[in-house]
Amino acid sequence: MALIMDYLVQGGQMLLMLLLAPLLTGWVRVLKAQLLRRRGPSLLQPYRDLLKLLRKEVVLADSASWLFRVAPYIIFAAIWVAASLIPTFAGGLLFNWTADLIAIVALLGAARFFLALAGLDVGTSFGGIGSSREMMIASLAEPAMLMVVFTLSLLAGSTGLTTVAHFMQVADVGLRVSLALALLALLMVAIAENARIPVDNPATHLELTMVHEAMVLEYSGRHLALIELAASLKLLLYISLISCIFAPWGMASVGEEGMVYLVGIAAYIGKLAVGGFLLALFETSIAKMRVFRVDQFLGAALMLGLLGALLLFVSRSL
């Protein structure tokens, strides 16, 4: 019985992620439009786009190789697996021990690896721009992320997300400097990783400023659909990661009754809404920065993360 329940929870989690992702993207878009006094697209527009793209035929560049066609599936799979391992409405998922925080970071890294390769595959100049800038950004964002992971796992004594979330839920963590630093760093990383303003602008196609869009420039049809879906999954992943670590309230834990799960789901969606709103607010209130100031931005993130970890190393021994 309990086992079946666990399977259900895990499966529900995976589907929920898949379903909620475009909604979140739409939500952010709507909010941004509202904040800019525009009417903006409907909340469901992302779903429509995806279905449209899925039905269209793929126009493949002559110089594209098999890698170019396989990459979207790999990217999608990696991000989806990563996302489905994050406790959202319930901790203690069946397979949460499959991959800890480090592994989740690495899975995102794998997705990025193949995306960058796909950007290079056709052999256009824009693809190259995108890939090289993406890797530069990642080369700073990933260590920063890992520093955050360090801080958390040192605090909770584990790199397993469930344990961390549970720890934040029950143990009286209190306000710790290192936690604040970690949160700040994580936010900066999230912005960079999801190609949001000020690091990148998901809406632009101005050649010289785009990073993520430049890589996927040659994609079309179902491939593009998968990549878009993966992108919104990633956004969802980060927001739910932040919420499950820094706002783990209302999250159900293993083997509880159905009601609790519903509560958990409600709480989770609430968190997402808030997160999306904050993001939209931030994005509208700030301007995009030059690509070569991104490294300072992320360098700061890395330093914050390292500082957090160091402070923790000190405070733990006190």
């Binding site: 126009v59 493949l60 190789s65 790999i74 794998a110 390769l117 080369s139 990933e142 160091l310």
Partner: protein, 671 residues
């Protein structure tokens, strides 16, 4: 009783190299030589594998060779068995590859005789059980590999590489000789058993650690002793490069482990561990930064070896620090991580070098700027190289990730250390490790993307052909092993158990084979766990499911057309991103600090159609600040001393006179 057999096999390899002198010129010669080497390596591999997995009781053997009153001692224990596996695996695969690759060799008579001897040398280093035999084999290994580096001696660059290599190797050997001398002490017992048994002062232990760092580190490519490596490894034929980078550096690691963890009976002071840790971190970061700046494929790989050596040394440094504080459980974690990475690096670095070899035979080019689009003519090579690249970039579910994950876990155990310095050092090194992992990914996106993807940048690349089946077999063997070690890490960890136990006072990680779902949970799964198998299954399932559903329910129509490229279709391949331009952002971010990289753009005046020029100046800090002074000093000194060659007879007589008077004075004042 595998030890005598293993020694026989090494002897057989030596015999083959003598036989190779005779047949090197003949058409079928290389096939026979490499075939024999392959057979022997496989046999040795099976033997050592069984020995390690069954009852790894140390067996010893003494031959009446070497130092007369000492004899040549040999010993096969868990540690040497493990490294023998690495050696013979690499050797066998390289031989298999060379069955095809060797056909293209311009000067077989300069490669065939030394290749089996090189293999034998490495095996003997690992088997040696006294200082003389060890150094003998060690130096023999260096010598044979030097000969292989000098195989294409017409290129001046290779000659310089070989020179630098052998000098550094000699430096390392002398350092090790001093290390053994220090450990053996005045009564001079030079067999390892005596050294182990002898009680040494902490000072001696520290000195041994330093000298081992110098000796083994110079061979392994520890910054700042790495300068020879990126020159020498690419200079050799590719299958030899694979051996040197993938295996020989590991033999160097073996030397370090053997001395520091086994022979030194006194616990090393904790700051020694800190030193190794810091060196490892610096090596890892610098190595990958160097690699990113290269556009010669083999040199890029060689610099990457430096990075991975750094990662291994991070693990070893942590282990020393833990052992110094008697935290053997944590030390077991660190050691396992290091050894696991030894195995992994030997796998994927060999794979990548072999792939480069295939590219080299197909196009005759090592310079990425003249390659590109090779995935179309040689898809299989591309696939194998891609797997290797993904593995070395520590992407799950491949093996590279597992060892780096273990290293991170080991770093996460450092807060228990009492020393403050280590508390601060560990997260910093962790950051360096994370940084180098991320940069490695960037570096291999560059390596694979520029070489295999895009459109060919030179006619040679356009006319490339898929490589022969021996080479493919070799590459895919390694690729499969990379995947296996990635999805079944628990089994490898269990295999490493006896080795770790040997080095760590019988403290080792908990047995993994009875974990559910073959999960890797080094301590307890609540603390940290990873399951490569499930990650792979999930990704495969979701990927294929998505593909299936889309193709079934949505469209699967596909049309070829020119690239869109924001509306500039089929520009010339020259407009693609090159290796240099790919690395440019990172060069801007890091290079300007580390290498004082300076870019200078010279624009023609408006109306002038001549192309603009961008030149990048980079300096190698290590070479400039560590090696140039020494070389200049030696040159200056020898120039001064050279004047003594051209004195007049009178002056020479004055020298004798001076010596005489000085001695007489000394004696007069002596009493």
């Amino acid at each position: 009783m595998p030890l005598p057999v293993l020694l026989m096999l090494s002897m057989a390899l030596l015999a083959i190299s003598i036989y190779a002198v005779a047949v090197a010129r003949q058409p079928g010669g290389s096939r026979r030589v490499y075939g024999a080497a392959l057979a022997i390596s496989t046999l040795a591999l099976i033997l050592t594998l069984t020995h390690l997995l069954t009852a790894p009781e140390p067996v010893t053997l003494t031959l009446p060779l070497g130092l007369p009153w000492l004899g040549a001692h040999f010993r096969l224990d868990a540690l040497s068995a493990f490294f023998l596996i690495v050696v013979n695996l690499g050797g066998g695969v390289a031989s298999l590859f060379a069955l095809g690759y060797g056909q293209h060799e311009r000067a077989p008579e300069r490669v065939l005789p030394f290749f089996p001897a090189f293999l034998a040398g490495m095996s003997l280093v690992v088997l040696a059980d006294d200082a003389f035999t060890f150094l003998f084999a060690w130096e023999f290994m260096s010598l044979t590999s030097w000969a292989l580096v000098m195989a294409h001696h017409q290129e001046p660059a290779n000659a310089r590489a070989g020179y630098l290599y052998l000098v550094m190797a000699c430096f390392g050997t002398l350092a090790l000789l001093l290390a053994f001398g220090v450990m053996a002490g005045p009564n001079g017992g030079y067999d390892f058993a005596t050294i182990r048994a002898g009680d040494m002062s902490p000072g001696v232990a520290t000195a041994a650690l330093f000298l081992a760092l110098l000796g083994a580190g110079s061979k392994a490519g520890l910054v700042p002793l790495h300068v020879w490596l990126p020159l020498a490894h690419p200079a050799a034929p590719s299958h030899v490069s694979a051996l040197m980078s993938g295996v020989m550096t590991k033999v160097a690691i073996y030397g370090f482990i053997r001395i520091v963890f086994d022979l030194v009976s006194q616990p090393i002071p904790w700051w020694g561990g800190g030193l190794v840790l810091a060196l490892g971190g610096i090596t890892a970061a610098l190595g990958v930064l160097y690699a990113l700046m290269q556009h010669d494929l083999k040199r890029l790989l060689a610099y990457h070896t430096v990075e991975n050596i750094g990662i291994i040394f991070i693990g070893l440094g942590l282990a020393i620090a833990f052992q110094a504080n008697l935290m053997y459980a944590s030390a077991a974690m660190a050691l396992t991580a290091a050894l696991f990475h030894v195995l992994n690096h030997s796998l994927f670095k060999s794979l990548l070098f072999l792939g480069t070899g295939a590219v080299l035979t197909a196009t005759g080019e090592r310079d990425m700027e003249r390659l590109g689009g090779l995935i179309h003519p040689m898809p299989w090579t591309a696939l194998a190289f891609l797997i290797g690249a993904a593995a070395i970039s520590a992407l799950p579910p491949l093996n590279g990730f597992v060892s780096e994950w273990l290293t991170f876990q080991a770093i996460l155990l450092t807060p228990e250390l009492p020393q403050w310095l280590l508390k601060f050092l560990a997260p910093a090194v962790g950051a360096l490790l994370a940084l180098s992992a991320a940069l490695a990914a960037a570096c291999f996106v560059k390596a694979f993307g520029i070489t295999f993807l895009g459109r060919p940048r030179s006619p040679a690349a356009a006319q490339a052909q898929e490589t022969d089946r021996y080479s493919l077999a070799a590459m895919f063997t390694l690729a499969a092993l990379c995947l296996l070690a990635g999805i079944l890490p628990g089994l490898v960890v269990d295999g490493l158990g006896p080795v770790v136990g040997l080095l760590n006072g019988e403290a080792r990680l908990v047995a993994q084979h009875n974990q559910p779902w073959l999960t890797l949970a080094p301590i307890v799964d609540a603390k940290s766990s990873y399951n490569g198998l499930l990650v792979l299954t999930f990704m495969a399932l979701s990927g294929t499911a998505a593909a299936f559903l889309i193709h079934r329910l949505a469209s699967n129509a596909l049309r070829r057309g020119p690239a869109w490229d924001c509306g500039f279709p089929d520009a010339s391949p020259a407009t693609q991103y090159t290796a240099g331009s790919f690395a440019q952002p990172i060069r801007r971010v890091f290079g300007s600090i580390v290498f004082q990289a300076r870019e200078q753009v010279t624009m023609p005046p408006p109306g002038n159609g001549s192309p603009a020029k961008l030149e990048v100046k980079m300096r190698d800090p290590v070479w400039d600040y560590a090696y140039m002074p020494i070389t200049t000093a030696v040159v200056a000194a020898s120039t001064r001393a050279n004047d003594l060659q051209y004195l007049t007879i009178r002056r020479y007589l004055s020298l004798v006179f001076g010596a005489l008077v000085a001695l007489l004075l000394g004696m007069a004042l002596w009493r």
